[in-house]
């Protein structure tokens, strides 16, 4: 599996990472290098093997449906790059 420049552009777009046209050749080469290397997994017979999701040491647990935290609006907002009053700001998304 080899990625062409259009696919690299599409992945960057999906990941919301801006790239310049001048980045493309190097990025394409590096990603293809890694993908070519992981192809070795095709040697492994995984017929009937259950995929491992997490390490399975902890069982999912429930807790009481009660408030455990809150009343810390200023702390939550304290790292906002651009807050106005008690609000986060975002660029205009609807014209």
């Amino acid at each position: 599996m080899s990625l062409d420049p259009a696919t690299v552009r599409r992945i960057a777009r999906l990941a919301r990472i801006g790239i310049d046209e001048s980045d493309l050749p190097a990025l394409q080469g590096e990603l293809n290098g890694i993908l070519g290397w992981v192809e070795q997994l095709n040697e492994v017979d995984v017929e009937g093997v259950t995929p491992m999701v997490g390490t399975g040491h902890a069982a999912l647990r429930t807790r009481d449906d009660v408030v455990t935290d809150g009343n810390c609006r200023d702390a939550v907002l304290s790292n906002a790059p651009d807050a106005v009053g008690p609000f986060y700001t975002v660029p205009k998304v609807v014209e």
Binding site: R16, G18, L41, E43, M52, T55, G56, H57, P91, V93
Partner: protein
């Protein structure tokens, strides 16, 4: 002996016996940081004033006879653990001004037990790297030197700042996190002990996430006993981490020096891999001989899927990373770069905020999770991961612990191995399989190689059997008598 050369165990005893005060102990370390950190770059943020204030409180506690296990002990904290009111960067530009309004569980546990934090240690950006060269705050220099050569060596990664700080005497111990080897490999490169506990042993709450099914916090220190003391404090159930495991925390120090008579030690054939240096092969054979002399039975075992660990890791970890790092959107925290539209703002923010390795891993993860490729890459990797775990589970029916090298070579120079990401990934070939399986593992320094650099051996144990690692690790430590110290260290520095 200089205060910066003591172990945590000896310093705790010295404080209780009033041989020196906590202020003296902490000041010795903050002075060492002032003298050596400009060169080593082991800390991103230092908190010397707060540390001295905390040390004065520690002296009051000691005077009242109310000392806790770590009262007055200066520790470095990897800059991936959120510390309340102290900047926490993950070594990334995107978090360069992030000040958490809360404390991670692991650091809260250490503070509860009296530890004094002297600063936040450098790391690879978001813990993604094996040489501590991807930090937005510059590389860390390994305090060790090759014989007759002043070239700056890498400390390993990602917990390279923690390893360098502990080795050089800029902290008595430090926290690390390990996703594919990030505690054990830098511990080996810097001649210290590093323990990655079982997945679920230490809470991940408040630790900035890289790959959540792998990330695990653990101690780094200059002795096996010191790691036991730190782990005692760091470990335990936490309701705020859904993968935290609710089982008792044993008395880890009690395992130090425990008899190894009859302990079965497995030697996996597959770790005799291509690229294993002769000096590390020799150290491994020496380690086998020492454990045999301590009464262990040596058993040859096979972990046939070892060679697929790295490729599996470089699908699973980037996939989880692409998902975890989606939160850096320039809105709620972190840096923002403005753009004319919401998407343009996201793209500009993430382009400027993340370094090349992080961008590469996010893109790899995005690709392997994308429609049409999920089954071929991600699902396949999860299945191979099951086989890697099965290898360990089957081995642990025959043996109690495994002994392997920690890394295929000693520390290399800054600038080496940087052209090809895959070459860099190969440093973690021996550490990744235990991470994939969630098993506890520890690196112990056992000697110096031909060029005068420390070599580490890795012990891998059954889930939640850190005690056997500590018992076998302390036997290796006693047999090796590793008292070598790096060229650059606090003792004698001005």
């Amino acid at each position: 002996m200089s205060l910066t050369e003591l172990t945590i165990a000896d310093a705790a005893a010295g404080l209780r016996a009033r041989k020196f005060s906590a202020v003296e102990l902490v000041r010795a370390h903050t002075d060492a940081i002032a003298a050596l950190n400009p060169r080593l770059n082991a800390y991103i943020t230092t908190t010397s004033d707060a540390a001295l204030t905390a040390a004065a409180h520690a002296d009051e506690t000691l005077a009242k006879g109310e000392a806790r296990p770590l009262t007055g002990i200066p520790l470095g904290i990897k800059d991936l653990f959120c510390t309340n009111g102290v900047r926490t960067t993950a070594a990334s530009n995107i978090l360069k001004n992030f000040v958490p309004p809360y404390e991670s569980t692991v650091t809260a546990n250490l503070l509860r037990d009296g530890a004094v934090f002297v600063g936040k240690t450098n790391l690879d950006e978001f813990a993604m790297g094996s040489a501590n060269i991807t930090s937005a705050f510059g590389p860390v220099e390994n305090p060790w030197k090759r014989n007759g050569d002043d070239a700056a060596l890498v400390p390993g990664g990602s917990s390279g700042g923690s390893a360098a700080a502990v080795a050089a005497g800029l902290a008595m111990g430090a926290t690390g996190t390990d996703t594919g080897g990030s505690i054990r490999q830098p511990a080996a490169y810097c001649g210290i002990v590093g323990l990655k506990p079982t997945y679920g042993r230490c809470s991940r709450f408040g630790t900035i996430a890289y790959a959540s099914s792998l990330d695990q916090a653990g101690p780094m220190a200059r002795s096996v006993r010191d790691c036991a003391i730190m782990l005692q404090s760091m470990a335990g159930f936490d309701a705020r981490d859904s993968t935290s495991v609710n089982c008792d925390v044993p008395d880890y120090s009690a395992a130090i020096g425990r008899s190894l008579k009859g302990l079965k030690v497995g030697i996996p054939a597959e770790y005799r891999a291509e690229g294993l240096s002769a000096e590390i092969e020799a150290a491994w054979q020496q380690g086998i001989a020492w454990l045999k002399a301590a009464g262990c039975e040596i058993v040859d075992v096979s972990l046939p899927h070892t060679k697929y660990g790295l490729a599996t890791y470089y699908i699973v970890a980037p996939a989880e990373c692409s998902s975890n790092l989606a939160r850096y959107d320039g809105l709620r925290f972190g840096e923002r770069v403005e753009g004319p539209t919401l998407d343009a703002m996201y793209e500009a923010t993430r382009r400027a905020g993340f370094g090349p390795e992080v961008r590469r891993r996010i893109m790899m993860g995005t690709y392997v999770l994308s429609a049409g490729y999920y089954d071929a890459y991600y699902l396949k990797a999860q299945k191979v991961r099951s086989l890697i775990r099965r290898d360990f589970t089957e081995s642990f029916q025959k043996v109690d612990v495994l002994l392997t090298p920690t890394a295929p070579t000693p520390a290399f120079a800054q600038g080496e191995k940087t052209d090809d990401p895959v070459q860099m990934y190969l440093n973690d070939i021996f550490t990744v399989p235990a991470s994939m399986a969630g098993m506890p593992a520890m690196s112990v320094p056992v000697g110096l190689g031909a060029t005068g650099l420390p070599l580490g051996l890795q012990l891998i144990g059954r889930p939640f059997d850190e005690e056997t690692l500590l018992a076998a690790g302390s036997a290796l430590e006693s047999a090796a008598g590793f008292t070598h110290r790096p060229a650059i260290r606090a003792e004698g520095a001005k």
